[in-house]
Symmetry: C3
Subunit: 300 residues, 3 copies
């Protein structure tokens, strides 16, 4: 793999072997501690993200790599009017691989076009977040023992939620049945639906989960992200609409798993954390093994 | 030790053996350079602090550990409305130990309650700052050759100064005699005095050091911290009240030591730095050996 | 070398041997990967700079050193009113070498005066930026095969551009002929001209490059730095005055090299990047080898 920009850069075989590799690493991480000991990895976060940045950095250190980078564009030359392309050209002369998060959709692709070293997209605006999708798929496999023929409900802000876009494309290899559950103003974008239609993926769009809850194998909750809204009033009106709590959790079957890319705010009550179906913290931790597998698998 | 949240987590024996270990490390630090080479330490500074963060990071690197973290909450998911508990649950899946500073008193205890890995409190609001107290005690021992039966004066903002709270509790094992010297509005809190009374520690509260200066063995100056005040006028009225300069330094005996947790602003004049009794920069450096000792001693 | 504060700290022999060492490192960097494996280097950026910071950090990691530091003064104790001198005294107790960037001219010299460990000036206000000059000289040597008797044009903001100040002083060892090309309000400072006169360096000041373009061996473009202006209108009036694009590039001979310390904004059009004379990205990358050479050469 030269770059990882989108989950669609991987075919079914590449995706499943990467997940198998992450499974092996999870079983014995110490075996891989010197794999990249001659590499320097740059983590360029033009938009802050604790969870994703620390997960990548921990993964890089656990395979022996060293780190440079920034956590915040305000400390970068972007402030001085430098283009993304120039920043990437310079950093690709200093590091052996670039992990980047950027607020603009398409930024990772622009970076890859000028980089001399591999680029991993760690989230670009409302575009994609492929490693999140990969760790989500890893977690589904680990818990459901299969990826095939699952009923998956995506809930919340499906318009702006890049994790939903990436995951729905990534799971398309495995004959899923999707339910997109959101307020109409936050529905899944037309281009995602087009891509799913092209791949003949079954999906339906709903405004609540009442009727379909008992059939769901994977409930994928998302945050209604305040920073994606232009209008605070609109945010306030929808933010509490799709909440998983002890009461609504009863609608789902005992083998359903509750996932969330985190951070969560009010959309999953803390009382659900102790429910054995709530696996979102395990899901976050799985990012470590998946990212170790990915970093080792890149072509340097 | 599972967590280090308060100086009171250590009994007298634990505290003195940790100080003895720091003394050994100081004599030959290179012996310990690979002790934690398989560990990743997260430094989570929800409130900025150069000195404490860099001291912990240098200590961690000098015992072979690797680092992830943030220097500033503005680059963390806290900005997205994530709770402290969720952040800690996630980071405790990525790192082997968490060092945290937080603006809210009690934050370290909340973190420890949900963390899967050890938590070290690097200062929580006006609460505690146990490693500062430990390096202070290490420095007192090194300079006075004993910890027992000392006359210690604490000067400045004793209400908000967490280092004073931690140190006065930590030295309570060694039969001290305390003088708390502050303006009435910045007096030492009732709960600290209660704890001292329970332990039968002799102390008195004064508004100046005129009468007691000649008896003092340890003069512990503190910064009147602007960021702890709601009212700038109140800050301006007290900030210059308790100043150690060449002139006032003459009141103290030749064997007295002048300490300060740093950063200092105007409360100790630069002219005092050359006085052999001024040991505050040595005190800061001692944090390195003490924190190396602590990091090695934690139960992973 | 105890400290590197100014390019004038190096005599001709020291400068050329450092450049020869950087050339050796570039040919086989892996040979040097453990040279500083027992050292901790502090990068203290009181003013943000991606390029310089990441270049120093990559260089330090590539010679085996470990890193502490900050990318931004807002996360430092400076915010609490601490003096630069106190910060340096404390950090020099934690690290084996300090690399610092600061907005105030003369800051590096003040730091060196109190530091127990070597200090490298990574840019201080409109003062100096010696490692930039060193990598520029390294790049000139690599491309022109000689440093002697070159016609060098400096273009843009020559008043505030610290890279121009350092480079014009550094090249003074090699009998250059300088053309300073700028609007009158941004002319090269009197103290630089005085130093050049003292060293009997030929130079002339011009407001455009029309007449002298064909003779130039090295065209050194600089950014008109918005953050150095008090008045936005003045910035807007001059920022586009000295632009290198496909058209103006034709004025220069085929053996001329186009350099820029980067980041560039509009002063070099992206269309020039593909011109073989445009070597500014190679120049930036050369900073890595030069800084590895420098870090190894310091006296710890």
């Amino acid at each position: 793999m030269k770059h990882l920009l989108s989950i669609t850069d991987l075919d079914k075989k590449e995706l499943t072997s990467l997940i198998d590799f992450a499974t092996q690493i999870k079983a014995n991480p110490a075996l891989y501690q010197d794999k990249l000991s001659d590499k320097i990895i740059a983590t360029l976060f033009f938009e802050p993200s604790t969870r994703t940045r620390l997960s990548f950095e921990s993964a890089a250190l656990r395979v022996g790599a060293k780190l440079i980078g920034f956590a915040d564009a305000s400390t970068s030359s972007t402030q001085k009017g430098e283009t993304l392309e120039d920043t990437i050209k310079i950093v690709s002369g200093l590091a052996d691989l670039i992990v980047m998060r950027h607020p603009a959709s398409g930024a990772a692709k622009r970076a890859a076009a000028v980089s001399k070293v591999p680029v991993i997209n760690a989230g670009d605006g409302s575009g994609e977040h492929p490693t999140q999708a990969m760790l989500d798929i890893f977690t589904i496999k680990e818990n459901k023992k299969t990826l095939e023929n699952l009923n998956i409900a995506f809930v919340g802000d499906l318009k702006n939620g890049r994790t939903v876009h990436s995951l729905s494309l990534g799971m398309a290899h495995f004959n899923p049945n999707y339910y997109f559950i959101s307020p109409p103003s936050l529905a899944v974008p037309a281009e995602i639906k087009q891509a799913l239609n092209l791949n003949k993926i079954k999906f339906s769009e709903l405004t609540d989960w009442q009727k379909i809850a008992p059939q769901i194998d994977v409930l994928y909750m998302t945050r209604v992200q305040k920073e994606r809204f232009n209008d605070v009033a609109e945010y306030e009106s929808v933010k509490d609409a799709y909440i998983l709590n002890a009461n609504s959790a009863r609608l789902f079957k005992s083998t359903c798993i509750f996932m969330h890319p985190l951070p969560r705010v009010t959309e999953i009550s803390a009382e659900v954390d102790a429910d054995p179906r709530a696996i979102y913290f395990d899901q976050a931790r799985n990012g470590l093994w998946l990212r170790m597998a990915l970093l080792i698998s890149m072509k340097y």
